[in-house]
Symmetry: C2
Amino acid sequence: MSRLTRDDIITGAGNRFASHGYHGTSMRDLGEDLGILGSSIYAHVGGKQELLTAVIDRGSAYFEASANDAIEAASGPRDQLNRLISGHINVVLDHRAETRTYLSETEFLPAEDHQRIVAARSSYERTFVDCIAGGQEIGVFDRTADARLVAIYVLSILNAVDRWFSEQGRLNRKELATDITGFVVSGLGASR
Amino acid sequence: MSRLTRDDIITGAGNRFASHGYHGTSMRDLGEDLGILGSSIYAHVGGKQELLTAVIDRGSAYFEASANDAIEAASGPRDQLNRLISGHINVVLDHRAETRTYLSETEFLPAEDHQRIVAARSSYERTFVDCIAGGQEIGVFDRTADARLVAIYVLSILNAVDRWFSEQGRLNRKELATDITGFVVSGLGASR
DNA sequence: CCTACCGATCGGTAGG
DNA sequence: CCTACCGATCGGTAGG
């Protein structure tokens, strides 16, 4: 058993914060998960708040990277929308602890970090709005819809995925992404 | 200044739990909000856990009542879907504290209460699934869609509404309900 | 609903 | 990373 790294501590904190909440986690709880004492955590990080920031920074970075990948690889608005959706699903399922903390505990961040994360989130959401608006301009999406509202609807669906999706269920990730893209584009109206 | 009732305490607890989380709320915090001492709360309720249960029970009851109203008044699947959506929006906006607590803090309920609330929530969600499946049977909704998945998508959108909707925004509640219903039925494909 | 507490637990530190 | 702590705060109670 070798010594823990700072990254190990952040990972452990993410797991605890995701399942018990930031305020429901004590440094002693976290230490127990990691096999050390609560007080020993202070050899690696400055304090509990710093751990929350580190966990949420990770979550935020995963989403940003996913959006950048989608923009680079996309061949058009509909393809980009599918890539954004698929990427978001992969992020929340591959990094459940960080993204759950990011989505549920951001409000408990120190003011400075909170502002930074909210700005990054706005930028990420703008990627969805721009993609939808771009599709409306070239006529592949309905022009009468409000792109900002549709982006909010899509992100609401995506942010909840980790709460119900199971890898052992009827659909795999790729199929879920296709289903959500189809739902967003056609709803219950046209056959997909 | 008259004495507080048990209901007042529960309302105050809902407000605190919604903004600071259950674990982020101390009995002294709550007392301060109510203008009494933390220890005085115990004259009205058995403990902090009991407060969480009481707040979430309220939230759960609002959703149940809304679903029952929609079922009674509906003239068909599409009308019922619109009523379920509109009702859900009204519940989360009229009872922000209780519903936010219901949606975010249910996991911290004592096991027995947790089971009861999860069962009630399943029943509520089934109303949405049945409505969609009913519409598919009579051909007003696309038969190839998975009713359960669509219900999850709709509820994901609805549960996030209180996080971004403003009464002073471009849309009022009724218009938002219409927009969401339109989105669910037509997506970005057909014009609504 | 307040006064006056209780033991337990909290985030965090000094020194090794 | 542990030992040995610190003052502050926690949920909760007895008695009025």
